[in-house]
Amino acid sequence: MRAAQERLTPASTQALSEALARADAGGEKVHVVGGETLAGMGFPPERADLTLATTGLSGVTANERADSVIAARAGTPISDIAVLLATQKQFIPFDAPLPQYATLGGTLASGWLGPRRHCYGRVRDYLLGSTIVLADGTIARAGGMVVKNVAGYDMSRLYVGSFGTLGVLAQANFKTIPLPPKARLFLAPLPENTRERACSQLAALAIRPAAAFWIDGFHRTVDGDEGPEGRVLALLEGSDAVLERATLALRSALGRAGVPQTKVLDAGAREAFERVLDAYVACLGERSVTYRLYPQVQESPPIASLMQALARRFELRGETIVDVMNGDVVLRVSDLDSHAFGAKIEAFDDALHEAQPRAQVVASKHPHRAYLRVWGASPPAIERMRELKARFDPNRTLNPGCFVGGI
């Protein structure tokens, strides 16, 4: 890897197009970044002659309240969009960590999946259209500003999760949905013998929590508490009437699982939820790596326990977040100092992928990240993906080597 020599922040789609066309024609490699909140995802670029930040392409370009649609440029911070929509009692479930820094383009390009997707759907399901700049500088639009559109291929969704390797998103258009009027957070200690029962009780609730986690560790990030036990954290969203009924059901479900007192938080409920999102990508200096896995719901509690055991075997500290509603497992492994950590992490990565081949790295500042299996096992359609890359970016100008299978 060679460090990028130059950093560009084009302020218009046209300028972005010109910068890419110039780089592509000149054989330069471009590292595309947004707010760099997910900088720990993917491989570092094989080579970067130029860092291209989309942060200069900022701002909401259309906000059609009467249609419940919104369009924003790629560098717009997620929180800017969320705050604007909230004033209109609308939202899009981005669930991005560090939303004041995370950009729209980066959130889409990373294919970020949030914990509320089980009830509101994926961010891609809200996408109506996009403007993308291809490696050769071509500006291509897809979709539009209407909520249903089947004119041609769904190019916008193809760019979601493409990690900036097919083109650079310049703008995206979304539909929005009504913001649930209220949020309520439940927080309770989760002694070891109650964990699996609590998870299955929560997942089976008739009024599903918008999000529910079993968290082991991450204390400082999540609630400033240093308690040794695991915790359960559940977020309910909805009207007063719904919250009232759901609260009773949730309390009694946790009670049945043997969970002791539950703390209920109305003020600051969403903020507390956002702190969990931040924990997904929180690094402990250069001495941690955070993995994310996507098993089915019923598999996740045992997988989390196994991951903890594996961390212990390597004398690493293991901290986990189990997304009870979707099944995702987040595992952060760390050591006391960077040197000791570096000596173990590659062997741990091998052992982890032996047990869970699909584990992906979502956060790390450790220099050895480049040697880990950051995307997990390659998907079955990897050769087709390589062909797609070759057709869209034949010179491998964009984020070379960063993506799945070294794309």
């Binding site: 059609e64 009467a66 249609d67 419940s68 649609v69 609308q90 759907g121 994926r122 891609r124 399901d125 291809l134 071509t138 500006i139 291509a140 639009r141 897809a142 539009g144 500003m145 209407v146 909520v147 249903k148 559109n149 089947v150 004119a151 041609g152 291929y153 769904d154 190019m155 969704r157 193809l158 979601v160 999760g161 493409s162 097919l166 949905i177 913001l179 009024i207 909805g238 009207s239 009437a241 719904v242 009924r245 089915q296 719901v297 019923q298 699909r358 992906q360 997990g376 390659s378 998907p379 079955p380 359609a381 990897i382 087709r384 993906m385 062909e387 797609l388 057709r391 869209f392 299978g405």
Partner: protein, 461 residues
């Protein structure tokens, strides 16, 4: 040669080549057709793979076909070749109740899936009006919608994984949970031009605990569409918000006695489903808005059978049109929801100028219009007038910031209209995807992309 090889590989009962049989597969629900050279009915993914390999060897194009209910000529063999019918691949392979998903073969009928999982308290959300006959494979190919897409989204939001046969006859799989490019999203809605989907994992939803359906009557179309815009503007999201005009209401009542107010100029069908507290609140809020916009009546269905009756009328609306006109053409455009009143006025104007009777039955909450243009196929003047009216509606939708197809697809019918909404560069980006998946243009050729004359860079080679 082609027919012999197909018969050798699949058995002669799986291959049809008599002129009568071929004629039966020359059309879908669009008016234009083309004769295939052979029709094949595979029973397995392996069969599909063998068919593609043979067709490829013979240089014959392949058109996958579900139930043939498509309205844009998407399943029509314009360039001849092989029609691959999924009629025999109609099994629900696996129901995973716990994780709310099911694996189905492409030939399973849409409604059949919801029937099969109802006892587990689940349903499959996308519900095109053709759902009693249309197949899930066809729904995936067109990214089909339906009334409930307002709340649940179109087919692409409900596809979790695909098994696909590529243009070389190779089988591969995609999943939305795989790392890498979202090939699943690229394949859904690609109208059989990127690969042939043989089975899919589909997302199921829990049946709502409460459902309320009501009809509101209006004395004019304008007030009804203003009411729809107001509902959207207020940030209320019902599960369905459908509109029918007087022409349709009368046809439906004559055919089904669904219980619509026949004296109304426009009827809104409103459904709210979900948690009972939310459903009651939304229904009340919508009623208030409807009345404030001049609704002359509001009737809430009191029972499940009354609800079913109201929905049966809506879903059978296009069919009922057959009673009042020998033929009809369904246009499908989508406009920003606040532009509904203008769009409906423009439809009316275009129809009147061309001397055509129009009936409107559509997904108002999505801004997705379906003007049914009535005509007699035997009268050349009327045919010309319908084509002209259809074109004017397309133009008006685009002028209002809308698109040329909300949910039916592009197919053969609208491919030239693609240049109305996309630039050459936009279409060239799509063509790059096709180049990767089907470089020799054997999968459903002459569809989606405009022909060479209007758009040289993306012309078929």
């Amino acid at each position: 040669m082609l027919v012999e090889r197909l018969s050798d590989a699949l058995g002669s009962d799986a291959v049809k080549a008599s002129p009568e049989d071929l004629a039966a597969y020359a059309f879908d629900a669009y008016t234009d057709g083309g004769m295939p050279r052979a029709v094949v009915l595979p029973a397995s993914t392996r069969d599909v793979s063998a068919i593609v390999t043979i067709a490829r060897d013979c240089g014959e194009p392949i058109v996958a076909r579900g139930a043939g209910t498509g309205l844009c000529g998407g399943a029509v063999p314009i360039a001849g070749g092989v029609v691959l019918s999924f009629a025999r691949m109609n099994r629900v392979l696996e129901i995973d109740e716990h994780n709310r998903r099911a694996r189905v073969q492409s030939g399973v009928v849409n409604l059949e899936l919801s029937r099969r999982v109802a006892q587990s308290g689940l349903f499959y959300a996308p519900d095109p009006s053709s759902q009693q006959v249309s197949t899930l494979g066809g729904n995936i190919a067109t990214n089909a919608g339906g009334p409930h897409c307002l709340a649940y989204g179109t087919t692409v939001n409900h596809v979790l994984a695909l098994e696909v046969v590529d243009a070389n006859g190779e089988v591969y799989s995609t999943s939305v949970d795989d790392p890498g490019y979202d090939l699943t999203a690229a394949l859904v809605g690609s109208e059989g031009t990127l690969g042939i989907v043989t089975s899919a994992w589909l997302r199921l939803l829990a049946l709502p605990e409460s459902v309320r359906v009501a009809v509101a009557a209006f004395d004019d179309l304008d007030s009804a569409s203003e009411a729809v815009s107001a509902i959207v503007r207020e940030g209320i999201l019902p599960t369905a918000l459908e509109m029918m005009d007087a022409v349709i209401v009368r046809a439906v009542e004559a055919a089904f006695h669904a219980g619509y107010p026949t004296e109304a100029a426009a009827v809104l069908l409103v459904e709210n489903a979900g948690l009972r507290e939310d459903v009651e609140a939304a229904q009340a809020a919508i009623q208030t808005i409807a009345m404030a916009h001049g609704a002359s009546s509001w009737r809430s269905a009191a029972s499940q059978s009354e609800r079913d009756g109201l929905w049966a009328g809506r879903k059978g609306a296009a069919g009922a049109t057959g009673r009042i006109s020998p033929n009809y053409y369904t246009q499908d455009v989508c406009v920003p929801r606040s532009k509904l009143p203008q769009a409906l006025r423009a439809v009316e104007k275009a129809a009147r100028a061309n001397g055509i009777t129009v009936g409107n039955v559509f997904h108002a909450g999505d801004g997705n219009l379906h003007p049914l243009l009535m005509y007699d196929r035997r009268d050349r003047r009327q045919v010309g007038a319908v084509v002209e009216t259809g074109n004017e509606i397309l133009k008006c939708a685009v002028d209002l910031g809308g698109t040329i197809s909300g949910e039916h697809g592009i197919g053969w019918e609208k491919r030239e209209a693609m240049t109305r909404v996309y630039s050459t560069a936009d279409l060239a980006a799509m063509a790059r995807v096709r180049d990767v998946f089907d470089p020799s243009r054997l999968l459903n050729p002459e569809k989606i992309f405009p022909s060479g004359a209007r758009c040289p860079e993306v012309a078929p080679r």
